[in-house]
């Protein structure tokens, strides 16, 4: 059996090349390839030869590729959603723990023991809602569980989520806010989720609540969030996403001590191909063995 010919374009990234070769593939040009690993933007996406049976995209949110009409039904398309989910879930946990444990305050107020000691809260024993429990929720649930938290997952279908003690449907969302200690937003950005965190939902949350978002900026009404933080309606907010990005330099959220904002780095671009490599290797192995691939994208399905 000859080894699987794989093109890694538009540049032969060292981590991905190593992954392909380690999984038994051979790096070739696109005109000889049965597989295309594409790590460039949609605008530069090449004309695909008929021989390409599988296209591996690196992005998790593949809206841009869908919008550009690039996906067809003549071959298999994968994204790296499964891989990203672990990374994003980890960042969500880091943000939540940093807030509860007052890392932000400790960094700016040196050994202010009186203030910090009275503000530190524990994740263990608390109840955390994961809103939009898809792949990220499935990765976050077991992490929160291992930290001793009770997990309430909220999704459209009400289907089971790993690590969740309880699953509620999105239609019951109104009842969630007052029954949990903290909230992690992991839902897609749609007309329905826009400003899901607003004056009303912030008022329903307990005053010790931290709101974490690793989803998309528009889920949070930032003006309402600012007011709730100033008024002490919630304890803090930790955001990896804002609307727009970056926030204005004089955005009032920057002035608050109980806000953590990371610059959309839950999936850092710099280490991306290095961290994506094991995932690609597994899919190359599966493809060569005729097994089902991880993270297959179905064109036409609503993401």
């Amino acid at each position: 059996m000859s080894s699987l010919p794989v093109a890694v374009e538009p540049n032969r990234d060292e981590h991905l090349v190593a992954a392909v070769e380690g999984a038994g593939g051979t790096i070739v040009g696109l005109d000889e390839a049965r597989v295309l690993v594409w790590i460039g933007p949609p605008a530069e996406f090449p004309e695909l030869p008929d021989a390409v049976e599988w296209v591996a995209l690196k992005t998790a949110g593949i809206e841009d590729f869908l919008d550009a009409g690039l996906l067809d039904n003549r071959r298999v398309w994968t994204n790296a959603a499964g891989f990203y989910a672990e990374n994003v879930a980890e960042h969500a946990l880091a943000l939540l723990l940093a807030g509860l444990r007052q890392i932000n305050t400790a960094v700016t107020r040196h050994w202010d023991k009186e203030r910090i000691d009275t503000s530190v809260r524990s994740l263990h024993g608390s109840t955390v809602a994961i809103i939009g429990a898809g792949g990220i929720g499935a990765s976050l649930g077991p992490r929160l569980k291992a930290c001793g938290a009770r997990v309430v997952a909220v999704n459209r279908s009400g289907r089971d989520v790993p690590g969740a003690d309880e699953v509620r449907r999105s239609s019951e969302l109104d009842s969630v806010w007052s029954s949990v200690d903290h909230v992690v937003l992991a839902a897609p950005s749609t007309a329905k989720t826009r400003h899901m965190i607003n004056a009303e939902t912030l008022a329903a949350l307990p005053s010790h609540a931290w709101v974490v978002s690793i989803a998309r900026g528009p889920l949070v009404d930032e003006e309402a969030l600012y007011r709730a933080l100033v008024d002490g309606e919630i304890a803090g907010a930790a955001l990896d996403v804002t609307d727009p990005e970056p926030p204005a330099e004089d955005h009032p959220l920057w002035s608050l001590p109980n806000v953590i904002i990371t610059p959309h780095v839950a999936n850092p671009a710099s280490g991306l191909t290095r961290e994506m490599a094991p995932w690609l290797a597994e899919n190359v192995r599966r493809f060569a063995a005729g097994e089902e691939l991880i993270s297959v994208v179905t064109p036409g399905r609503d993401y």
Copy 2:
């Protein structure tokens, strides 16, 4: 059966009183008590009536009570080690994740995406050593495991630790530093552990390593740590303990961007009795039922 008479001294803390009563006990003065819950300092510890069969101390490091010769063999003594372990393990995880995920940088450098994106590292896929894997290690192991890390536990006996992929004896410590990505110090402060983190061990660690300490300040040679951080021998340090505490206001560690120092708040004093309450309730229930208590202290054993 009459309910168990319990004294909560030197003040009848509301959370502990509720815990005792919720577990079927009755709050009484010390002269009527079969159980003393003591939340004061050793210096104020009372003369114990013979009728007291169990003394519940709140502290985890009970060295001060031992040094004062307060523990006797005429009754059962418990501390709250089991409870504290969860809290301290959580803080250790918060510190490690905050460092890897660059929360400290994000708080001080607003949306410095270029710098932060290239500095963020993932816990999943990394190898973490827990040095001194007692109760804290046993609580931290499963948390790290759920985050996708490989866990190397180091303890004196080489006995199994929950969540550990590998256990090594303290005598093999020299070989640990170069074989792990990150280190969490959770060992007691003794002559042997003093300056365990020194110029030599720091040089052996990989340059992407974060060193986390939730143990005691003397385990770290802070001068050597400062040099290693300035020279880029390790990536960062996150400390909940220093030597002495607090560090001097002009301590050079405060000036470094890759250092996180929290003011010894892994077990915040402010929320202590609230968080300790469920643990006390469980022990009161066990005592009344004649079952074995959690966290029994054996006077004369070396902690």
